[in-house]
């Protein structure tokens, strides 16, 4: 990509992506100003208190779970997987936006992602942490979870590498590690900034330590940029693979409604859809609390809404295709599984899903809705409700009526299912709020690149 193009991009973007008359200095002040605040805004305090209380709920519920066993949940035969797995898939899905924005959009030189990528990456990290909790605790003998790792032992036993659950485990674990590295790498120069601006000794030391002595020398930037680019390069197939692998938990099985080759692309699209939903929710909240409207501009929201329109429509298309294939395959079990989704006892779950994931995004055809902030806020929340129900539909409805009518049954969650689920929100928001408090929520380095001045050719005409 030639310098000229970049230049024109930079100028074009600079018009909408950064409002007001910004300079390197203003940007630095605005963004690093937030972690440097003496006192956190009241909204932050309230939110943090709420988050912590949810964490305590989680701890309690988890304790009881380990004490009593998964019997405290609503799972039964034949519905062996309930909320735990639903939440797992849901959180992993949300966790897709971050790396996607940072990596894929970076490769496509989409400068507008520069202002939201840090935000999204952080969101990803904590979402994936929440996700990783579930495969661990949903098993019957939690204390043996380490058998998932290939550890040499006196039983000469190893994991069964043919099992999608093991793939899953490796995929999500890798995804988490890579996202973490990616996030931290991006953070190094900004930490240096905070180090150099910090007033108190302690802050200096702490930021200084994590900044690893970054000096912003070009001999460093050279390797740094390459590393960052390559990370983006490998994270791209990774992020696409993760949810494909998660989907194979179902696709590899033999259960009608699970055994579908359409799952991988469909899951990835759904993941991006829900991920952007979550980013949208958080961004709108953050920009109003910390009034960063000039950095998270309307046009960012607009662009995210467009992506949600795209992915939402892909998901909707998949829903249709599922039905088509079910009919076309001529397999009576398959077709019944889908009729049962739409008209069976769990019809309400199905239609909630449809309305949130297929109908709702269609509003984004119109700029009025794409730029109407309150609407976007509500929509973005509905999106994730819809995506949660998608997983409910897949997990529960497929299991509750499969091959033998004699083994059909119904499923209903218990208070403990709900407690654990809410608890993960606590973990998510605690982490995220701490990030807002102590780290720059926008990558200063990268957003400076959005400024025309950042370009050496800018000066000379």
């Amino acid at each position: 990509m030639s310098e000229a193009v970049i230049k024109s991009r930079a100028q074009k973007n600079s018009e909408e992506l950064l409002l007001g008359d910004q300079t390197f200095t203003t940007i630095t002040n605005d963004i690093s100003g937030i972690p440097e605040q003496k006192k956190a805004p009241i909204q932050w305090k309230l939110a943090f208190a709420l988050a912590l209380s949810l964490v305590s709920v989680f701890v309690g519920a988890l304790g009881y779970l380990i004490w009593e066993g998964v019997g405290i949940w609503g799972v039964n035969a034949p519905i062996g997987w309930g909320w735990a797995i639903i939440n797992f898939v849901w959180w992993v899905g949300i966790g897709h936006a971050g790396t996607l924005i940072s990596a894929i959009l970076h490769l496509f030189r989409q400068n507008w992602r520069n202002s939201i990528n840090r935000f999204a990456e952080t969101m990803t990290l904590f979402a994936v942490i929440c996700a990783l909790i579930f495969p661990g605790i949903h098993i019957g003998r939690i204390w043996l979870a380490y058998w998932f790792f290939p550890v040499p032992n006196q039983m000469a036993m190893w994991p069964n590498f043919r099992s999608p659950l093991i793939w899953d485990f490796f995929a999500v674990f890798t995804y988490f590690t890579v996202s973490l590295l990616f996030w931290y790498t991006g953070l190094i120069p900004d930490l240096a900034t905070l180090r150099d601006r910090a007033k108190t000794k302690l802050r200096k030391k702490i930021y200084g330590f994590f900044a690893l002595g970054w000096r912003g020398g070009n001999r460093q930037w050279q390797h740094y940029e390459l590393a960052y680019l390559v990370l983006a390069g490998i994270a791209t197939p990774l992020v696409l693979s993760v949810h494909s692998v998660v989907s194979s938990d179902f696709a590899v099985s033999i259960i009608p409604g699970w055994h579908t080759t359409i799952f991988p692309p469909y899951f990835v699209a759904g993941a991006i859809y829900s991920g952007f939903g979550m980013v949208m929710t958080l961004v709108i909240a953050a920009r109003s609390i910390y009034n960063l409207k000039h950095i998270f501009t309307i046009s960012h929201l607009d662009k995210m809404a467009q992506i949600m329109l795209l992915t939402g429509s892909i998901v909707g298309y998949s829903y249709v295709m599922e039905f088509f294939i079910a009919w076309y395959s001529g397999n009576p079990y398959e077709s019944y599984a889908f009729i049962n989704r739409a008209l069976g006892p769990y019809w309400w779950a199905y239609w909630t899903m449809i309305s949130c994931n297929v109908i709702l995004p269609q509003f984004f055809w119109f700029k009025r809705f794409r730029t109407h902030v309150p609407f976007l806020f509500i929509a973005s929340i509905l999106v994730n409700i819809g995506m949660w129900f998608e997983r409910f539909v897949i997990v529960v409805i497929s299991l509750h009526r499969d091959y033998m009518p004699s083994a059909w049954a119904m499923y209903s969650p218990t208070i403990w299912d709900i407690a654990i689920y809410l608890g993960t929100f606590g973990i998510f928001f605690t982490g995220f709020l701490l990030f807002l408090r102590f780290l720059p929520m926008v990558s200063m380095t990268e957003i400076k690149l959005v400024l025309p001045e950042s370009n050496p050719q800018h000066g000379d005409h």
Binding site: Q154, M155, A156, M157, R195, K205, G213
Partner: protein, 215 residues
């Protein structure tokens, strides 16, 4: 301004070294102290009665099966009843101090509480008879009992240790009439013997199937 003093520049190195050392020592610690080779081998509890296998099985040459009557028919080799001891000791060493407990047990009918040396997990169903009848010798798993004053565990008795033999193409077997012989030496044509053994046992020979032991 300078935040850290010079030595911190080696920090990266130090940190890395530290982490690796820690991980290594930790894993090797667990590796060694966690393994049955440490936890089980050599376990030699003090028995309520100082019974000497060396004396009985070794010097007097009493056959294992004289006391361990179950070994050829049952999953358990059977710890002999007091009756068996008294069979001789009503005549031999009738007033030995060491045998006090035995005599008491015989009179009161209160069983002698021996301490178990070779322990398998509850979920592992081991059967003595099938091993003994297929030419797996006592010594193979229990060591040379005939020379033990106090019986101790010689082999780890861990799952992979079992599998080593079960999966091997040359399992440690011998003619069935020699299983209790502690001083048997393989003949020159031992290899043929093993080969033929595998051939005839091929159908019934339990390979590494889980359910052979766990059910």
């Amino acid at each position: 301004m300078q935040l850290f003093s010079r030595w911190t520049n080696n920090f990266a190195g130090i940190l890395l070294m530290g982490v690796f050392l820690l991980l290594f020592s930790l894993s090797s610690f667990i590796w060694y102290y966690g393994s049955p080779y440490y936890t089980d081998v050599g376990y030699a509890p003090v028995q309520p009665i100082p019974y000497s296998h060396k004396l009985h099985a070794g010097d007097l040459g009493i056959d294992c099966r004289y006391c361990h009557v179950g070994v050829e028919q049952s999953y358990s080799a059977v710890i002999p009843p007091t009756e068996t001891c008294m069979g001789c000791h009503t005549y031999v060493k009738t007033d030995s101090e060491k045998l006090k407990l035995v005599r008491e047990s015989w009179e009161t009918g209160k069983p002698i509480e021996w301490i178990k040396v070779h322990m398998l997990p509850e979920y592992a169903y081991f059967n003595h008879s099938v091993h003994v009848n297929s030419g797996v010798a006592c010594i193979t798993c229990h060591g040379n009992i005939a020379e033990m004053e106090v019986v101790y565990q010689v082999k780890p008795l861990s799952m992979d240790w079992c599998l080593d033999c079960h999966r091997s193409d040359s399992p440690e077997v011998r003619p069935v009439d020699q299983v209790t012989n502690m001083y048997w030496t393989p003949p020159d044509d031992y290899d043929q013997f093993v080969a033929s053994f595998i051939e005839q046992h091929d159908n019934t020979r339990p390979v590494a199937d889980c359910q052979q032991c766990h059910r």
